[in-house]
């Protein structure tokens, strides 16, 4: 109850104020009665804003300010040394050249593969949850691909999927001669390899997140459902998934962003964007334009376009998941 009597530090003492205007007995009660609700609320607001201020300061200076400069450069022909204003020429070129839409298709292919890994991670997490023998070991092991740097992953995968590599070797040994092929030589199989790697590295992350989520769901709820006759699949889809929505949302959005802005390293080391340009994602294109062609202005314009698109997609997803996460 102390909050109502002693004023918060830094706030003017309302009691003190009343002494100054003494003489007006009628208004006294108004002044002697402290107004905790408004001042508390204001205090809370200030606390809130101050809490986020350092974070915004750091991110604003280190990330947003350079982005703003980059945005400005997108209207120039900047090559690092000189920058002449050319207005919307870069953007016009993006639309005319079709440079932008083809790589974007590559990103979309990855984006569309997210539900697959989501489902796999969920199922594996539930399976691990059954605590079959060795589950602790498996849980540790699945995270290893996630930890590996793209350098080693790229090198390893190239070696394994080369026409004389381990994958073809294993297929032949198992009698599936027809399946062995030049994996990185055609676009469709190259995508299969890339998506396999993406799944392989993301499984650990998914298992990590979902296992924790599962651990918190009350078992009574699930028992009740089982007693009601729900089978394994129904339990998964109608109880577990809805309850896990916030973590599913995080997983989905985080990986969606990765599919648009983080693929570059992986594709560069495994297929270098080939065959042809068919597996070149948009951020690899930006890298090439910026550092191989030295066309930093154009690369900035591409980044701005990418940012707008991903922002839109993420906003839609956030809305979708936020709605399903609140009660």
């Amino acid at each position: 109850m102390s909050a109502t009597n002693s004023p918060a530090p830094g706030m003017r003492d309302p009691n003190r104020e009343s002494r100054v205007t003494m003489g007006e007995r009628e208004s006294r009660p108004v002044f002697t009665r402290p107004q905790p609700k408004i001042s508390l609320k204001r205090r809370e607001q200030i606390t809130g804003l101050l809490s986020i201020l350092p974070a915004f300061l750091l991110v604003g200076i280190v990330v947003w300010w350079p982005i703003a400069r980059s945005f400005r450069y997108s209207f120039t022909d900047w090559n690092g040394a000189k920058a002449n204003w050319i207005g919307l020429d870069n953007y016009r070129n993006i639309f005319e050249r079709g440079d932008f839409w083809t790589p974007l298709k590559t990103n979309f292919v990855f984006f569309l593969s997210i539900p697959g890994i989501l489902l796999i991670s969920l199922v594996v997490s539930v399976l691990l949850f059954e605590e079959t023998p060795g589950w602790r070991f498996f849980r540790s092991v699945y995270y290893i691909p996630t930890i590996l740097s793209t350098a080693i992953v790229g090198m390893l995968m190239r070696v394994m999927f080369s026409p004389r590599g381990a994958v073809n070797g294993l297929l032949k040994a198992a009698g599936f001669d027809g399946l062995s092929r030049n994996w990185l030589g055609t676009t469709s199989t190259a995508f299969v390899v890339l998506i396999f790697i993406f799944y392989w590295q993301t499984l650990g992350q998914g298992v990590l997140i979902f296992l924790s989520g599962l651990a918190s769901i009350s078992t009574d709820l699930i028992e009740a459902a089982r007693l009601d006759g729900a089978n394994w699949w129904q339990r998964l889809t109608q109880i577990l998934i809805p309850l896990l929505m916030p973590t599913i949302g995080f997983f989905f959005i985080f990986n969606a962003v990765y599919c648009f802005v983080g693929l570059f390293a992986l594709v560069y080391t495994v297929t270098n964007g080939g065959p042809g340009f068919s597996t070149t994602p948009i951020d690899l294109l930006i890298y090439r334009k910026a550092f191989e062609s030295g066309d930093l202005g154009y690369a900035s314009a591409l980044s701005v376009m990418l940012f707008i698109i991903v922002l839109f997609i993420s906003a839609v997803q956030l809305r979708f998941f936020d709605r399903r996460s609140t009660e």
Partner: protein, 441 residues
């Protein structure tokens, strides 16, 4: 003696030449308190010895060279930073240079790779006397438009990669009854019949990798037909068309080589093609002296080296190969110690240093006229490469001659035409289209 007044650009240009002459090899007597520190980013000198992996850094050639330079020039310190020898070094240099915060000197890949950084590089022609220039070979690798007489020279070619050729398994070749020394094909038809012989005998003739299948063979044949670097330059600047019946013929015939090569060449690594050779699963592979370094420990004298057959007997350039001065040393134009930086470069190119370099066997082949590398090399193949590399028939790397975007396009389309997904004509038209787009933009 020369004092720090040489910081003004004009005096530098004139005085630079004089300074350069005076600096070598006797030394630079700067004032003791004016110690100059040069940062040197090396993207080309080696710090690894496969035979002795615990060697200390100080035992490698470039460190010893720096020591010698510092002793001869008290008052100048050179700080070496070792970069990864892949395209990230250009990213690093470019970013640093935007803020004028890069090194004073750098050594990187020559041609369009480093020329794309020319906005940050100090033109170096005025620092060299004609005599100094004449004793170094390979200036077309460091000028725009590959005109050795152009005043816009941005760096100093600092060594040669040798000449790309075929490396082969002598035993397997002998089994087929072919002795390359006496009986080597002189045109494409002859080459194909050789491949046919090998294939019938039971081994895959060619084991190629994702750079070599295209640049070592196809682009070599195109380059020798259009007259070398000048012709490649014409393809790059639009004076010559890619989609020309002569070139279509070359591409179409080259496509036929897939029947004789191991599958997947367009995505294989160098180590993959070497693996085929080492395991006797292929007879020929393309490359330079690095192939020998990698495969000798296993193949020993069974490794043979022979030039790639000419496409036709009436190509303007015969019996060559691509290669040449793939490295360049250059000075940043924001460097505050340009005179000293140039002095260091001249030191590295001096006859005495070139001898040390050859003796170390740790670096690229020599590209100077007054030192004969073959006197110092022990390896026979290395000696042959040295002799080949300075011949005029060695064509400078075409991918360093063409604009970067066009090179990327060739790499991309090459995979499609090799696997037959597009035709020879479509391939060449795509290149024309890309080139025109680059010129028009």
């Amino acid at each position: 003696m020369i004092t720090r007044k040489l910081s003004r650009r004009d005096t530098l240009k004139i005085g630079g030449v004089a300074a350069g002459a005076a600096l070598l090899p006797t030394g630079f007597a700067a004032n003791a308190q004016d110690e100059v520190t040069l940062t040197f980013w090396s993207g080309t000198y080696t710090f690894q010895d496969p035979t002795d992996k615990t060697k200390d850094k100080s035992e490698f050639y470039i460190y010893q060279a720096i020591d010698r330079f510092q002793v001869a020039n008290p008052g100048i310190k050179v700080e070496l930073e070792n970069l990864a020898q892949d395209p990230t070094m250009f990213v690093k240099y470019r970013t640093a240079s935007v803020a004028s915060n890069g090194p004073d000197i750098a050594s990187m890949w020559s041609g369009t790779y480093f020329l794309s950084l020319k906005d940050f590089i100090e033109p170096i022609a005025t620092y060299f006397t004609p005599e100094e220039k004449a004793r170094i070979l390979g200036w077309e690798a460091v000028v725009e438009n590959f005109d050795p007489n152009s005043p816009d020279i941005y760096g100093v070619p600092s060594g040669s990669d040798g000449t790309v050729c075929f490396f082969y398994n002598k035993e397997l070749m002998a089994e087929v009854g072919v002795d390359p020394a006496t009986n080597w094909p002189t045109d494409f038809e002859g080459f194909v019949s050789l491949l046919e012989q090998i294939k019938t005998a039971g081994t895959t003739p060619l084991g190629l990798e994702s750079y070599g299948y295209l640049w070592h063979i196809l682009m070599y044949w195109i380059a020798q037909t259009v007259g070398g670097s000048a012709g490649i330059g014409e393809l790059g600047n639009g004076t010559r068309k890619f989609n020309d019946p002569v070139l279509v013929d070359i591409v179409a015939k080259w496509q036929g080589l897939t029947a004789y090569s191991a599958e997947g060449a367009e995505s294989m690594q160098i180590s993959d093609s070497e693996q085929l050779l080492l395991n006797n699963e292929s007879v020929l592979t393309t490359g330079g002296i690095w192939i020998a370094n990698d495969t000798r420990p296993v193949m020993g004298d069974n490794l043979g080296m022979i030039k790639i057959p000419n496409f036709s007997t009436d190509a303007p350039i015969q019996n060559g190969g691509i290669g040449g001065p793939g490295h360049a040393l250059f000075v940043s134009n924001y460097s505050e110690h340009k005179a000293e930086a140039v002095a260091f470069i001249k030191f590295l190119m001096s006859p005495e240093e070139q001898v040390f370099k050859a003796q170390s066997g740790q670096s690229t082949l020599l590209n100077v006229t007054d030192v004969d590398g073959t006197q110092y090399y022990v390896d026979e193949l290395l000696k042959t490469q040295q002799t080949w590399s300075n011949e005029p028939s060695t064509i400078f790397w075409p991918d360093n001659t063409l604009p970067a975007d066009l090179t990327t396009e060739i790499n991309a389309q090459g995979q499609l035409v090799w696997t037959g997904q597009i035709s020879a004509e479509e391939f060449l038209s795509a290149l024309d289209a890309k080139r025109d787009e680059l010129l028009g933009a």
